[in-house]
Symmetry: C2
Subunit: 193 residues, 2 copies
DNA sequence: GGAATATACGGAACGATGTTCCGTTTGCCA
DNA sequence: TGGCAAACGGAACATCGTTCCGTATATTCC
């Protein structure tokens, strides 16, 4: 986690100093651009913010998904790690599930275009899709299992599908639309009656 | 509804024959293009299919939303009109609601990109948004009211928000994602327990 | 310290797409 | 039939993602 000059197995020769510097600059620039214009911010804008050419972006982050993942990696990880904690501190598994999904919704709601990108079937976003799924599905499945075992929800619920649905509900904004409430309805629909 | 040469109040002079012909051709071409490539089909493709220049498209349908509305107008109307029928023939209001929403989902699911466009907050799609809302919200509200009155669902449900959520759930496709099931969960969440 | 070399950089260039604009064509009416 | 307003076509412009290659520079080796 802390190491930075080791690749997978075969030793990666270590990148040039300017390359590492640019990568960090680019990450900061992208974060700023995403905040200002959403995750669809034009490549040229990000490059300009970082003071580099567009080629440099593509060299470091071949697809937009790679850049998005790099920018939000820590927040996704934090979200995933919150699941067991919530399960331990909440009254019931269903309460923990609800709280955790709220966390996820809060995360998505503050990133314009992220939910849309997440649910795009474009091949370019497959990496993004995969990253989120790899990290968040196990966390969600854990909560789902606990709630199912406690007899609170129907046992056949698929974590991947649920997260995808939540992502969809968070995509798009409208005057009288509250994604949180709709997600709440969805989670309520999970409950056994 | 059947008249075609009257504007609002001041008499519209009636369009030229070639203009009327092109409009019909364009509608057919757009329908075909939407079917083949989704509602985001390139303007040039539609123009080519119709054998007209791109300028002609913009003259008849200033925004893509106008074109989409024109293409799907009849289906939307049919969907709206199905609501009272379903209410009369279904066992319970909630059953009618479920059936009607299934209808809506089926409609959306067969139009690639429509749900996405519907929930886009882009100003260009405001017309589309408005059209769907104007026609479908009353139909849905009717069913919602009936179900609420029968004590089947929570009475504070907003039709516009619900439809928007259903649209969102239908946007985006993934290997293990079934929009119908998720919509079912959402509607189940409406029920009083 | 001073080349040699691989690495990284910058930005021009290309293709796709939406949108506008204006010279040309054509239906319509007198 | 002549004239004009309506409509047309498609070139032209703007934006954006993506690629590519000549140039610059960090690193290494002597």
């Amino acid at each position: 986690m802390a190491g930075s000059d080791r690749g997978s197995g075969t030793s990666t020769p270590r990148k040039r100093a300017d390359a590492r510097r640019n990568e960090a600059t680019l990450l900061a620039a992208a974060a700023a651009a995403f905040l200002a214009a959403g995750v669809d911010a034009p490549v040229r804008d990000i490059a300009a913010r970082a003071g580099v050419g567009v080629g440099t972006i593509y060299r470091h982050f071949p697809t937009r998904a790679d850049l998005i993942v790099a920018v939000y990696r820590h927040q996704v990880q934090a979200c995933a790690e919150a699941a067991p904690t919530l399960l331990a501190t909440s009254g019931t598994p269903h309460a923990a599930l609800t709280a955790w999904i709220d966390l996820f919704v809060d995360f998505l709601a503050t990133k314009h275009g992220l939910a849309e990108a997440l649910n795009s079937d474009s091949a370019a976003f497959e990496t993004l899709h995969g990253y989120f799924l790899d990290h968040l599905v196990p966390a969600c499945a854990h909560l789902l299992d606990a709630a199912a075992e406690a007899g609170e929800i129907r046992p056949d619920t698929n974590a991947e599908e649920l997260l995808f649905a939540v992502g969809n509900l968070c995509a798009g904004r409208a005057p009288h639309y509250d994604a949180r409430r709709m997600v709440g309805l969805l989670v309520a629909g999970l409950r056994l009656r």
